[in-house]
Subunit: 373 residues, 2 copies
């Protein structure tokens, strides 16, 4: 797994420090693990980061002593703190934060639980703190929305490999096989192609199951002439890519052909609406209006897409307008999925999904596989 080099990490840290100045914060306690990985290159199942004006402290447990030491060696700005046996992460956060008394220290309100917040607040008050920790909302997530060049390279590499996996696998989605069997072959092929792991549970949904956007892959034997929604993704160097094709086994019926074409057109309409400065809701609307124009408004039951990066679902959300919420406009350097679908309970469904990079002028496809077979 490739980890961003120190100069790239330093750029991210600089951007965050400017945000902290704007927010009048002296430090930020980062408890979201993808945010920790983004800022430090430390990928772990547990960890906390404290970013101050003059130092960065990365807290991990003894299982990760070796990668923690490696992070400090590669990028000495990081001070590592390995948990002593019997000390919790939150107790370590208190020790790391304590010397900052008098500064405004932020925490990530979207991630810190009420129980952890309560512990930290009480422990700091017991040490004489009179100021409360300051709730912040998505500061690092917002930085992550605009991918840097290193990230774009990872995502392009991932999308290219994912496209090759699709080309290898889709011809093998055949009547008689079980959904689970196809899913297992996809996941094997993901590993062979260099992905660290699937980005989510692979979906192979055939026949009536194709009408269920939540379906996974089960024991069902794929039938002849059926629609099969195949939705899978891989994690490469920590970055997620995501692709869906809908295959017809055997001969394609008229109705199946019709729905496939309309969904592919809706995806193209969404693609044409993407550019830096566009509202995500307008991109969703482009796909939705195309489907509605063909009587498929009711059949499209989910949003058009989502951001991709260290998480499989991240900002921006490409969905319908929501009451009381304005999604920020798209930024050049964002990477997102475009995945309209149409579902008919009892009959089947179609979804087509690709990954695109937002540019100043429009968008660039990252995945590259024929849309209808």
């Amino acid at each position: 797994m490739r980890i961003a080099p120190p100069e790239v990490l330093a750029g991210r840290l600089d951007r965050l420090r400017r945000v902290l100045i704007d927010e009048a914060l002296g430090a930020l306690v980062v408890t979201s693990l993808p945010n920790v990985a983004y800022l430090t290159g430390f990928f772990a199942s547990a960890g906390v980061l404290l970013v101050g004006a003059d130092g960065v402290t990365l807290i991990g447990d003894s299982r990760y002593a070796e990668p923690l030491a490696a992070r400090t060696r590669d990028w000495p700005v990081i001070r590592q703190m390995v948990l002593e046996p019997g000390v919790s992460f939150d107790a370590a956060v208190v020790s790391a934060v304590e010397p900052l008394a008098g500064r405004r220290v932020g925490f990530e309100a979207r991630h810190l639980t009420v129980a952890r917040h309560h512990y930290l607040s009480r422990a700091l008050a017991a040490r004489g703190w009179t100021d409360e920790l300051v709730a912040t909302d998505g500061l690092v997530e917002e930085l992550r929305t605009t991918k840097d060049a290193w990230e774009v390279a990872r995502l392009k590499d991932g999308a290219a490999r994912l496209s090759e996996v699709a080309k290898c696998i889709l011809p093998k989605v055949l009547a008689g096989r079980t959904e689970a069997d196809v899913a297992a072959e996809i996941e094997t092929e993901l590993r062979r192609s260099g992905f660290e792991r699937p980005a989510f549970d692979t979906i192979v949904a055939s026949g009536p199951n194709a009408a269920l956007p939540h379906a996974r892959a089960g024991d069902r034997h794929i039938g002849d002439g059926e629609l099969v929604v195949v939705d899978f993704g891989g994690v490469l160097d920590g970055y997620c890519t995501d692709l869906t094709r809908t295959v017809v086994t055997g001969r394609t019926g008229t109705r199946e052909r019709e729905v496939l074409d309309r969904v592919a057109e809706a995806q193209h309409a969404a693609f044409l609406a993407v550019k830096a400065g566009a509202a995500p809701e307008a991109v969703d609307d482009a796909a939705r209006r195309h489907l509605a124009g063909h009587g498929l408004a009711e059949a499209f039951t989910h949003g058009t897409g989502h951001g991709l990066g260290l998480e499989i679902h991240e900002a921006p959300r490409v969905t319908r307008a929501r009451a009381g919420h304005v999604e920020p406009t798209l930024a050049a350097g964002s990477v997102l999925t475009l995945e309209p679908g149409a579902y008919f309970p009892g009959w089947g469904g179609v979804r087509i999904e690709d990954d695109v990079l937002v540019t100043e002028e429009g968008a660039e496809w990252l995945t590259d596989v024929p849309r209808t077979l």
Copy 2:
């Protein structure tokens, strides 16, 4: 995937309602997804449950309309609420909770984030609520610690299948293959054996990588005469099982044999310490003392085990005593891993892990594979 039948779910709900009475709560907002699945059989990537004295409301989004309807059909005590487009989960929770004004309504402080708590509190206050939501700590998790008969059957089935996967795969951990290749074969075999998915990223750590408890599986080619830690698990009917063996490729050296034997003995010592009423710390101590008696105290860098169930890591924690924390004593019906290890940076390491059921008299092995090969 098998889902617990209504009479089993009703038993769980009864136990929770008794807890709510003890806590003087009129209702509980359940936001932990494993807790939602435990109480309702609804497995989803998003959802909220409201448990009151006289009704249960399950909130899901439109992707899950079909399984939500199925839950209500199978078990009519559940009232389903499918999110309208543009309505957030938290807005739906407010509507569901609003009629309960005047009752003490609890929330799960370990799971609800500060941001969501803030939203709920403000929205309810705006609707005239004068009472605050009440923080609760692990009420459903504590019920989950004691598995019911239906759960024990699932975990036994999973552990038996996982043992068969191990017997099939371990002889194929051979010099010349890459770690990632072995991991891919394990995950394929998990699917073939009926598991819904791997319970976590499969670990195949060879040679010096075997010294890193956090290692996954990479491009490294396994060498001859090396220790290889193979740690994998599967999810069956929603329940996680977990197994580790350490294989030596080629001839087993004296030092490798010695460490393997000591770790296997430490695991056995832990097993003998397990019974209903025992302190988890005493189980950890049994393994730790055995290793310390052979000069391996420093080499054992993590805890002895963890509970298994709907999550791969759940209560009880079988670790060293922690300052200011007392882990509840073991209960008959708990399922946990016993997984001591010994790690030597630069040289390699050994971990041996099995799953056991706690009984009144002692413990019962659930996984069954020779410990040293």
